[in-house]
Amino acid sequence: MPGSAAARSNYCANWSRAEPSGVDTPHTSSPTSGPSTGRSDSLNSGLKIQFSGIEKRYGMRMALRGVSLEIGAGECVALVGHNGSGKTTLLKITALLARPSKGQLSFSSGDSVLSSGDIKQRIGMVAHNTLLYDELTAEENLVFFAKLFNLPEPAARARQSLEPVGLARRSADMVRTFSRGMRQRLAIARALLASPQLLLFDEPAAGLDPEGQQWLGQTLARLHAEGCTIVMSTHGRNETQGSVTRAIRLEGGEITHDSGPNGDPYGVLALAAVRETAEGDAR
């Protein structure tokens, strides 16, 4: 049962091999949830999201057409579809980075609907870009974002966040010197800083080597077990799909397949994989 110390240490012991030069192999360190934020709802209640008729237009191009969807708390949703299908746009709108041209979006935690001020505090995003400052060190990056997210004792929080991702020893090195895999880990640490109830991943496995992907899969599993709502866009079959509870396929800005909150996502995932291969062959 996730949450017990024994299970945690067993699970953590299976983490991937260390990265070359100086990255710790994460072992029995505690997960990134860190000290309590003092919020009354614990990490175990993920955010519930409701999309009604979401449209996004760029010029005359429709990136999203009438997307209506409800994602329940604790679901792990995979968004599939090829480039230009609207996955990234949907994630950006969910993260409140982009405003929909039409439609409504609402978030609730437990029973209460959240105001926009509250929402950003509870969302963590790992985007296609690293969203990190190259000219600052790993620790400085995390301290900076910890401060912006209003976290108590930002310096301590930052240091604690570096351990589970295996970057504690590189905390004083500039992000500029990091490999792609290390940057991804740091980006994930940043996303998890404020103990988010909703995690958004935009193709998180892109650019990661097989070990990195394996580590990512395990991280997602742990977060899912803790009750966080996860929405991630994924391109193809990879390690990250282990925890997926629901798959949604987008094409041309519309939802074409949705395995639903209680359905089997693997049908949709397989369908998406087959379509991708077919399209790749056809080109």
């Binding site: 950006k92 993260a95 409140l96 980075l97 982009a98 405003r99 001020g117 509250d118 950003k120 505090q121 969302i123 995003m125 985007a127 870009n129 690293t130 969203l131 990190l132 400052y133 190259d134 000219e135 600052l136 400085e140 900076f144 974002f145 401060k147 912006l148 997210f149 209003n150 940043r190």
Partner: protein
């Protein structure tokens, strides 16, 4: 998070980034120096001529330098799309602009203060007796420069040819600042030195107008 707190955090980050490399500071100082020297070739720098042309050339040099070094302000946030990271945080979007404006202001003011003695020596102008009012004029003019420059840096970051675009947008808009600051400085260098209330009020009005405009409309530049 409170506006002041997030602005201060961003300001600290900006300053840390600038002063870590110090390349921008050094380059800007040298650039202004070059402009000042080149300008000196365009007229005969006798004492009276210097008093007439000097302040204008100095301010022109500051404006040019500003319009070049304000560029990185938002370009820097494009490298890894860190602007998105800032917008993800639960902060007032205007504090992103405000933090950068404050950082650019301090940076530019520092460049100007470094160059003031150099200017005084090269043009044989005694600035010590008028130092306090001179710094006041510098500060007021630089607020205008930093405010509009930061906003236009956000504008230019979304366009092509941004290195050329920022000066193109900034310099015409700052023409009133150039006039006011130059005239105020010339007034200070006169004998007896006088601090023109009209120009001071004008500079303050300029700053207030554009700070307000930046506050009202600047956020839109950060949206998608």
């Amino acid at each position: 998070m409170s506006f002041m707190h997030s602005t201060a955090t961003i300001l600290a980050k900006e300053l840390r980034t600038e002063f870590r490399s110090r390349e921008l500071l050094g380059t800007t100082v040298v650039f202004v120096l070059i402009v000042i020297v080149l300008f000196s070739f365009t007229f005969n720098p006798t004492s009276s001529e210097s008093r007439r042309f000097g302040p204008g050339l100095l301010w022109l040099a500051f404006l040019f330098a500003g319009s070049l070094m304000l560029q990185p302000s938002f370009l820097r946030e494009q490298t890894n799309d860190t602007l998105a990271a800032l917008r993800l945080a639960p902060i007032d979007p205007f504090s992103i602009l405000a933090g950068k404006m404050a950082a650019n202001f301090l940076f530019l003011l520092l460049v100007e203060i470094i160059l003031l003695p150099v200017f005084a020596v090269l043009y044989n102008i005694a600035i010590f007796p008028i130092l306090a009012p001179l710094v006041l004029v510098l500060a007021l003019g630089t607020i205008g420069l930093a405010t509009t420059g930061t906003v236009f840096s956000a504008v230019a970051a979304q366009a092509r040819l941004r290195e050329l675009l920022l000066p193109l947008l900034l310099l015409p808009v700052l023409a009133p600042v150039l006039i006011a600051s130059t005239e105020a400085t010339v007034g200070l260098l006169r004998d007896p030195s006088e601090l023109s209330p009209v120009w001071l009020t004008f500079l303050t009005s300029f700053d207030v107008v554009f700070l307000t405009a930046a506050w009202l409309f600047g956020e839109y530049l950060l949206e998608e």
